[in-house]
Amino acid sequence: MHDTFDKTVQDRKETSAGLMQYSAENLVPFGPIHPALKEPEYFKLILEGERIVDVIPRIGYVHRGLEKAAEQRPWIQNIYMFERTCGICSFAHSTAYVQAVEGLLLYKLPERAKFIRLVVAELERIHSHLLWIGLMGHWAGFETLFMWVWKDREIVLDIVEAIAGNRIHKSLATIEGVKRDIPEPLIPGFIERLKYITTRVHYYRNVVDTESTLLIRTEGIGKISADRLEQLCAVGPLVRAAGIPRDVRRDDPYAAYNDVPMDLVTKSGVDIHTLMQQRLDEVVVSVNMIIYALEHMPPGPVKLRVPPVVPKGENASHVEAPRGELFYFVKSNGGRMPERVKVRTPTLANLPSALEMLKGHTLADVPVVLTGIDPCFGCMDRLSFLDRDSQKLWRWSGEELRQYGIHHYFPERKK
């Protein structure tokens, strides 16, 4: 066991270029598998003592080749694959993909479907923000906040399960509509539970602002200037916390965001503490939007029947995912399968800013700062070499993933 491990470390040194001159300092490998990271990404932290001097990102560990695979699957079936790009912002991906395709079709999306898309998207934003606040408590060593926030997050997930049948992968959005309607009798229950969440969020806002041990870990950590964020094309709550009012829901309204009042939350400067305040306030805004949408839901159909062929053309569409602008580009040659689908996820846009925020801090801040941008690496890595498309093996299988993992780390080991 030991020799293969050393050999791999040796190989790793030769293959990733630019590492040799760093071996002198204390190089702490942060990842790829590390309890602080929910998904494998690998940052080589070059330390002097505890201070971080340089960070070299090396991602691609959950890279599944979705863009290549999308070119070999019909339009409708791609929805269920892109939905699984990320385990948190799954509905954002399916909505963005579906909107890009609808841009090429000449149909008019039913009104009610727009409102349902807004409601489910905002529910997903709440669960994603609450998840992040809890994780932030976990990184800062404040387990109690983590347990409480995730306890309340269960309420949102139960509402989503009541609407879509599954807590995360809603499988609700389809081309030109939504597959299921919101169960009318359950709406009063949803509204009442959502109001309870607002009271809890106000309480957490108080804890986040007053608990001094938490403030020491979050105030003044991970600072970055607004125009540096602008240069690095950052997106989402990170940018709004810096005072830049950039939000796809308000600038380029899709679904029903044009008909539902929304007040944009911005803060005046980025550090982990303001990021927490930013997300907590956004949850309150989302709750109000959902309640407004549920009360003003227009009647009518939720879905149109659409032929499985998309006319020739190109279209780009973006959506405000919980972490920021999620960009989809779709090109069709008029066939049953897309010619090209490009996905740019918010985490990839925010990664350069995160690396910038890391420099100068100590190792203890790494998980806190790294989570500052709420990285979802499942989102960002969506290309890998796992699918099989020869007719006989036209299946995804867990075995494949396991083989790739083993092979990746111990190339010599036979299967």
């Binding site: 090396r58 691609g60 380029d252 008909d259 009042p261 973006h318 498309d389 190339p411």
Partner: protein, 168 residues
């Protein structure tokens, strides 16, 4: 439907496009079919950096959403897609497959550093002047040098899997 509540764009939507088109005409940018929300301009390869500089400095298009690579047969098309208020501006240029090299735009748009690395990994386009061009972002370490980049139409998933050794 309530009027579109959006902060007033300095120039109304239509002439923003014509404004950009006029500004970029010296770089003989040709407008292609887009939609009322999507402006598509094709720019020759050598004029790209000049027009990007013009766009970001004078037109105030700061946010580059992404760089999309497209394999269109004999050449690789690069789309620099900007997001400006409720519009998407797509600057297209193409690079020949035989000699896929283009100048990096990171001095103008620092945020494009990872987008260029991704296009380099997936399409094999080298961006001259890019700080980490020798480093891989997404490809695994054992991706063979001789195998063409994965997202080109010629490389099938089958070949990639054999090369990376998942399947014998």
């Amino acid at each position: 439907m309530a009027r579109r509540m959006r902060h007033t764009v300095e120039t109304s939507a239509v002439d923003l496009f014509t404004l950009i088109e006029k500004k970029l005409s010296p770089a003989n940018a040709k407008r292609e079919t887009g939609s009322d929300r999507l402006l598509v301009l094709r720019v020759p390869q050598d004029q790209l950096i000049a027009s990007l500089k013009l766009l970001t400095e004078e037109m105030g298009l700061k946010h580059l959403s992404t760089i999309t690579g497209l394999d269109i047969g004999d050449s690789i098309e690069l789309n620099y897609q900007f997001w400006h208020s409720d519009r998407i501006v797509d600057i297209k240029t193409s690079v020949s497959k035989t000699d896929p090299r283009i100048e990096t735009c990171t001095p103008i748009i620092p945020g494009a550093v990872l987008y260029e690395m991704e296009v380099h990994d997936m399409f094999g386009v080298t961006f001259q002047g890019h700080p980490w061009m020798d480093r891989k972002l997404l490809l695994p370490d054992n991706y063979p040098k001789d195998l063409p980049p994965p997202l080109l139409k010629g490389t099938s998933s089958e070949k990639i899997r054999k090369a990376v050794g998942i399947e014998k």
